[in-house]
Symmetry: C2
């Protein structure tokens, strides 16, 4: 009976960086960034708060690791082709910027990963194949720039979305939210913001 066979099953034992990151993402998704404290984390992991520091240097580091993990999953999902239908559709996917997954906020706080994601996205095999070696540097540069621009755009939107959610957690309905913003615009001085007034109606249809 001392020869226990340890299957790669479900072992919720022994703390590890992976388990901590996993728990962090779970909290992030379920309750948002504010709820991610070392106390909440150690409660969920049934350990002392100090134990986490043995595996993770910092809260900032933890957040970064969680972000990486989320990005990795997303990139995987896209590269797998499950979401590969039409590029236009993929871009419009509301999930792309992390609007539904609450772990989105952290995305905008990393200086390097956005670029990394862009590049990861551009590494999609199907596209790579077409750009043979002879295709030249110009095409590569174009891919890089396009990917970077798109990703920065998405991160900008993601930032707004999570900011909106933070200010008012009830904001699930996009239409209501846009209507509210438009209403706020028309309340401003028409003399100073004429364009704002003219365009307010358009916002709802965005």
């Amino acid at each position: 009976m001392s020869t226990e066979i340890r299957k790669t099953e479900r072992r919720a034992e022994a703390l590890s960086k992976d388990r901590i990151v996993e728990a962090a993402i779970a909290i992030l998704d379920a309750e948002g960034e504010a709820a991610l404290t070392f106390r909440a984390l150690s409660a969920r992991l049934a350990t002392g708060s100090g134990a986490i520091y043995w595996h993770v240097a910092d809260k900032q580091t933890l957040l970064a690791a969680a972000t990486d993990a989320v990005i990795e999953q997303r990139a995987e999902r896209v590269a797998d082709g499950r979401q590969q239908r039409e590029p236009r559709a993929a871009i419009r996917d509301p999930d792309a910027g992390g609007s539904s997954t609450r772990s989105g906020p952290a995305l905008g706080r990393r200086p390097d990963v956005p670029r990394a994601v862009a590049v990861r996205g551009a590494a999609d095999p199907r596209r790579r194949r077409r750009s043979a070696r002879g295709a030249g540097r110009a095409r590569q540069a174009g891919q890089f720039n396009a990917a970077t621009a798109l990703l920065n755009f998405i991160l900008g939107v993601a930032g707004q979305n999570s900011a909106a959610a933070r200010l008012d957690p009830r904001i699930g309905d996009r239409t209501d939210f846009l209507a509210a913003v438009a209403a706020q615009w028309t309340r401003r001085d028409p003399a100073r913001y004429p364009f704002l007034h003219r365009i307010a109606g358009q916002l709802a249809g965005t």
Copy 2:
């Protein structure tokens, strides 16, 4: 002597929301977002921390107000035409995204203002003149969309920049930073991230 003439000079007296916001921006610019505490603020304003709550509801509100003020200034500066040279130059202005002004971080945390700024920018008189009423809705829609896209892009970049600064305050030199990121990329698995490796060199020239 009871008839004091109150010139609109330099009156550092009586607390007010404006004075608080002003002080907040000063702290933000000088020491970054982490340094903006109610204690630091009340010390600078020579008052009790509770006094601030009489004029401002919340830290979140304060941050929002500071953001608005900074945006207003920027929009003013641009609209004044001082920075109006070539559009291309204005876009490339490193200051545009709030990279030098440390109050940038807050920009990405507001759900509405980005759109508002976009629209404010599009309200530039010189451009407005050209789009006569007859020009039609299509042009308006184009302006709106272009402005929104550009602003979201800028906010994305601004987020990255401030994130970089937060992680490593020494990051003043753009070249060093990009080189460091590129180096990190080449350290990854070439099989999984071929594009990353191919493109690393390009990053430095961005």
